[in-house]
């Protein structure tokens, strides 16, 4: 599985190199776009697929003649998922003359790179980071394309409003990804006045989640928010849940949309609902999935779609700005409204009109379910109920 993925990245990179070479031979220079990707670190499992989507989208754009008559050249930099290295690589990209940087690495790395793009006012697009505070940093050229954690809570709260979950439990793991999510969920549930009767973390590297789920069981919540993000810990959650004979509904996050859980936690997740930013019945999503399958002979996930969408946004901004100057692109992105994208609920697109540099439509998160060890389509969307 990983072999094929690495291979596909290698082939697409090679193909891209060829394209870039061909572009160079043409009269006009390429438009350079930088990509920060974690290819070797702890978050590569998520950063690589996102980047795969980015690569595919650029290939499509270039095949269709490029933008402003010029080809796009992607410059990939591996930041190992390490914040300090990410900032260094961001500086390299800025010095290389990229018109924008697409951040496909983890949010810590993205955050450190923001300090660099702020100096040079280089447009920086975080494809999939869901961290809450990225756009609060002082950098008018940084844009967050994915939904933030609090949007997941809001959507799930809207979905469960009628179900009367008077008290809930919150279970995460101790990875950075998960603790950040736990913080947001706690805050969101607090604002909505839903009491959290138990909060548990499953340590990364532990062999069982039985003690944690026993505490949850003892607290007798009406539902359990499952926000663990690291594979083995998520699986332990579901195993302990089944082993302890628990019956409470499980409310999960985007993380559960990673199809590997259908194998690692096979048959254990039925009945779980989770928030997702990917609506498989959205026309754009269907089209994307078909193109992806034709190209790579495997199913697309939301991660590839995130990576794809960042290219859609930047190409659109360059077109509208009719320029490859960084400030012009920056301005064009900030004015983007209603641009269709693969991610998000049916009928939603990029929308930066709220001025908070967050481009994901607040009504764009969907709720999906797992039945018979397979994902369903959206059973709910938006934050209004």
């Amino acid at each position: 599985m990983m072999f094929s993925l690495n291979l596909s990245i290698a082939t697409s990179t090679a193909a891209l190199g060829l394209l870039a070479a061909a572009g160079g031979a043409q009269s006009q220079e390429t438009i350079k776009v930088g990509v920060l990707v974690d290819q070797t670190g702890k978050t590569s499992f998520y950063s690589q697929p996102v980047t795969e989507g980015t690569l595919m989208a650029v290939e499509e754009v270039n095949a269709a003649g490029g933008v402003l008559g010029r080809q796009i050249e992607l410059i990939l930099e591996d930041d190992n998922g390490r914040p300090d290295l990410s900032a260094t690589k961001a500086r390299k990209l800025v010095d290389d003359g990229v018109v924008a940087i697409i951040s496909n690495s983890n949010s810590g790395a993205t955050r450190q790179a923001i300090s660099v793009t702020a100096e040079s006012l280089t447009p920086q697009l975080a494809s999939a980071n869901s961290a809450e505070t990225l756009t609060t940093l002082d950098n008018s050229c940084f844009f967050q394309l994915g939904p933030v954690e609090s949007l997941q809570v809001k959507t799930m709260l809207a979905f469960t409003k009628t179900k009367g979950y008077g008290k809930v439990a919150l279970v995460g793991d101790n990875s950075g990804l998960s603790t950040a999510a736990v913080d947001q969920f706690r805050m969101g549930l607090g604002e909505a006045g839903v009491p959290i009767v138990e909060e548990q973390l499953i340590p990364v590297g532990s062999q069982t989640a039985v003690p944690q789920l026993q505490k949850v069981r003892a607290a007798e919540p009406n539902a359990i928010y499952q926000v663990a993000q690291i594979g083995p810990q998520v699986v332990q959650f579901f195993q302990a849940y089944q082993q302890l004979g628990m019956k409470q509904p499980i409310l999960g996050t985007f993380n559960l949309s990673s199809s590997s859980y259908l194998t690692t936690a096979k048959g254990l997740m039925d009945g779980t609902v989770f928030t997702d930013a990917f609506d498989p019945e959205k026309p754009e999503a269907i089209a994307f999935s078909e193109r992806f399958k034709a190209k790579f002979d495997k199913e697309a996930t939301s991660l590839e779609a995130y990576g794809h969408d960042s290219v859609v946004l930047i190409v659109d901004a360059i077109k509208r700005a009719n320029s490859t100057e960084r400030p012009a692109i920056c301005k064009a992105i900030a004015e983007t409204k209603g641009l269709p994208r693969v991610m998000g609920a049916k009928g939603t697109g990029f929308d930066f009109s709220r001025g908070d540099r967050r481009g994901f439509d607040p009504e764009g998160v969907v709720v999906r379910a797992i039945e018979n060890n397979a994902y369903t389509g959206a059973v709910f969307s938006g934050t209004k109920n």
Partner: protein
Amino acid sequence: MQDFFELIVSGFASGCLYSLMGLSFLLVMRPTGVVNFAVGQYAMLGGFAAVAVMTTILIPPIALPYVPGLLVVLALMALLGAAVEWIAVKPLVDRGAPPVASMLSLLGVLIVLLEVGARFGGTEALPTEPPFGFRRVEFGPFAGTPQSLFTIAVTLVIFAAVWLFFERTLWGRAFEAVSLDRRAAQLMGVNLRLVTVSAFASSAVVAGLVGVLISGTTGAYYQVGMALTVQGFTALVVGGVGRVDGALLGGVLLGLLEALVMRYLPVSSSMTLAVPLVVLLAFLVLRPHGLLANRGGH
């Protein structure tokens, strides 16, 4: 009370995995004095090897049933252990370098194995089919999963075998003699090479077995190695370094302690994550020879 009996089973099962990791350390430490922090990576690779051999996930054409698959994985692990000894340790021992040189060289091996695992298996957790499926099993007041019972049974069998080996066989005596005095053992006609190589090979086999067992519950995962290394070494430190029964006792105690503290102590769960680390530090500082140190003397 139901909770308590469930915890005993799951804590015991986790503890057994720690014990096996402790044993993996011990098998090399006893005869050679070398501490091999790479054993956690053996476990990680053992897990991926199991996924490769028993499922269609990594190598689609090969999907052996559990027992033949297990044997193939363990054979591969033995080869790996012997190869590591031959490449990274033997030249140093030949030169008469101190054990710390071997420890550092094995840290290099650790990184190589970690990266090989991450490249080969990827950075997502991959599962194998647990041999007895997944469900709740109850017996008396106790309750667990078939896999946790399987883990406990396998561990006890392994420890019994190792104990018998050391206590009852000529070969075990040879190991023991080497652990006491290498030169004297050699003069007595013990084949040092053979003992050293089999120590490294069996250490890799035991750690690889842990990887296979884990792949059936939470999946083979490239980052599992470092945690298992710390847990295994802690088991050894708690039980008493240098003793087979110490590794078993230490691991099981650690597993139970973790489970009981997490369940019953009124501290936030993020603080309970520190339990094994604090246990390790406390033992290293206060009782570096472990619980069983005073029995049997030197």
